[in-house]
Symmetry: C2
DNA sequence: ATTCAAAAGATGACCAGTCGTCTACATCTC
DNA sequence: GAGATGTAGACGACTGGTCATCTTTTGAAT
């Protein structure tokens, strides 16, 4: 077994467990059991549980980022919609048992300086990307240009993370449906004349 | 020391720790140290750590609920604003180190059936209350009646919980400022003519 | 190409500490 | 004194991490 393969198995096993059970409720033994490696080997690949956690968080953020197209000819609003739809379909596939690490680590590990800093960094990167696309939407007249793109982006991300929380306790798509409806019918719209939600039903 | 006083000290100590460090990172020893009781006494008051956690969650939800006036002559929108302002001022007082248990338990304990169920229950109660007030706002013409009050309420709560997450990692008021701005300038407004955010700056 | 010693990597048993819980004993109350 | 209540510290399980020992790889010499 190549060293790289083992390392990736550890990361993958940890990622699954962190997503479903959280960081503190996931032990090293759980991870190495899932990765089918001896426990002592873990430390040949990672210095510590924390080092693994930070790497898994970083990978998660990178994967999330990849689902948002920053520069493209297509409609910025549609790109945003596609971004969230991809994320939501992942949660659906996992039967709404999985959280989002940025939200979960913000919640569970905010008192750990290293995690707090890393989580804040990734959160900001994400909302900056959302903002860039929103700004494009404003430039193309798809989104009301009188709205502060930064405020919108950050709010959007907050509400998405909140929707992830709800979906996990409810084990349901409802939170995402609500999220998509308000975002695309009220927030990310052309101007003061938002389309009424009632007519969507 | 009266038995009731000891019990309340345990609840208070646990509440603080759960809010700042989360459930799994808070041990019974931490709680009894903070409550200044012997560890063995804990089980004279609570059957288990889980029983304490559920009670602290319930207390937290009750306290939060008390900050929203459901029936009153005053403006529903202002009541909603006051509700969130009270919550935010608490977080400010605690230097943004505190989370919201409904959000945090949704994140950290979603895989525990008892916590998931209780958290979902309290989350729903909260959003139902928000919905009732939003509906009053719609009846009084303060909030666009073409919006689905249930969708709005749930979305609002999701976004607030997301703002709490951000405020904790950023240790800052920004998330709440963004939340209040979007909610009261875009979502909870009279009709299709939302006041532009740019003019608020 | 082969051999061998050194270096690097892997690992199972072990470590000290923490965890939530329990219970024998101590203390209190009536 | 009897019964109720409180509690110190033990318990068994688990935690993240260490390390002595074994295995594999590497690179130099022939």
């Amino acid at each position: 077994m190549a060293k790289k393969d083992i390392r990736e198995r550890i990361v993958e096993a940890a990622s699954h467990r962190f997503h479903e059970f959280g960081y503190n409720a996931t032990g090293i033994q759980d991870i190495v059991d899932a990765a089918k490696i001896p426990k002592g080997s873990f430390y040949a690949h990672f210095k510590s549980k924390e080092a693994l956690g930070l790497e898994v968080l970083s990978d998660d953020a990178r994967d999330t980022e990849a689902t948002l197209t920053l520069n493209d000819e297509t409609s910025p609003v549609e790109r945003l919609r596609e971004h969230f739809n991809i994320l939501v379909s992942d949660y659906h596939r996992l039967k709404y048992r999985s959280g989002c690490l940025i939200g979960d680590f913000a919640s569970e590990l905010a008192s750990n300086p290293n995690f707090r800093q890393a989580t804040l960094h990734h959160h900001s990167e994400w909302s900056n990307n959302l903002e860039a696309v929103i700004r494009q939407g404003q430039a193309r007249g798809e989104i009301d240009a009188s709205r502060d793109s930064g405020v919108l982006a950050r709010y959007l991300l907050d509400s998405f993370l909140g929707a992830v929380l709800r979906s996990r306790i409810a084990r349901s798509q409802d939170a995402y449906d609500d999220f998509l409806e308000v975002c695309f019918d009220i927030l990310l719209v052309k101007g003061p004349t938002a389309s009424p939600m009632a007519t969507k039903k």
